[in-house]
């Protein structure tokens, strides 16, 4: 019963935030003159919601591995954010940032996994 109430509260919160993002107009903070902005603005807010969920796992994760997984997924979300950001602005160096971020996230995840496993880094 308690678990079902938790499910209901979580689902209602998530659907409420999604309703506000998709159907109410949240303020546009940047690049108002460019095309596609009312559509891409909602994409940005959905990705921000996903990043907030990842940060919840970073805060409350019981073990270190949970935090590493959440940081990895946060890096992947930032790569997607850069990919969406380069379309309405028309500047393609955002994708350079995305590629570099993916590389750095991969290397740091491998290093943290080796550290968690208890081996040396030069093995």
């Amino acid at each position: 019963m308690k678990k079902r109430i938790q499910w209901l509260i979580g689902t209602a919160l998530l659907l409420g935030v999604l309703y506000v993002i998709l159907f109410k107009g949240l303020p546009v903070l940047f690049y108002q003159d460019l095309p596609f902005v009312p559509l891409f603005q909602r994409c940005f807010y959905v990705l921000l919601l996903s990043s907030a969920l990842c940060l919840l796992r970073v805060m409350f994760g019981p073990t270190a591995a949970d935090r590493i997984v959440a940081i990895d997924i946060l890096g992947i979300l930032i790569v997607g954010f850069c990919a969406i950001l380069c379309i309405p602005t028309g500047r393609n160096w955002y994708l350079d940032i995305g590629i570099a971020w993916a590389l750095q996230s991969f290397i740091s995840t491998l290093a943290l996994a080796k550290y968690l496993e208890g081996r040396n880094l030069d093995e």
Binding site: R57, T63, V79, N92
Partner: protein
């Protein structure tokens, strides 16, 4: 037309990103969380990149998006596998509702038959 196809791909990618992050919060175990949240890489962000490629065509932005798809699809399963292996070796227990643990029985029975060669 290509803008419509690109926006459909971006919508699919955003849906998978959101559902992967909900799974990252909701699942009870590190291994289940990893299994749910790795979908956010290959189906979420790669789909967003594919939508970017469809919306821009064969410009420098589209080529960079394809390059990023290849890179993400190569590296993300490797990092997920390394993380799950490290979590299992460092002694994190499975969830109490888990049925079987094949990796532990492999490690206890065979003296490094698979990994060393």
């Amino acid at each position: 037309m290509s803008d419509t196809i690109g926006m459909i791909f971006i919508g699919i990618g955003l849906f998978f990103d959101l559902m992967g992050c909900v799974g990252l919060v909701r699942m009870p175990d590190i291994y289940n969380r990893l299994q749910a949240s790795t979908k956010c890489v290959t189906l979420g962000t790669c789909s967003i990149m594919l939508g970017t490629f469809f919306m821009t065509g064969f410009t420098s932005t589209g080529i960079k998006a394809l390059l990023c798809i290849v890179f993400l699809a190569l590296t993300a399963p490797v990092s997920a596998h390394a993380l799950s292996r490290a979590a299992h070796i460092s002694g994190i227990r499975l969830w109490k509702g888990s049925v079987t643990d094949a990796y532990r029985s492999d490690r206890e029975s065979g003296p490094k038959s698979g990994g060393a060669q």
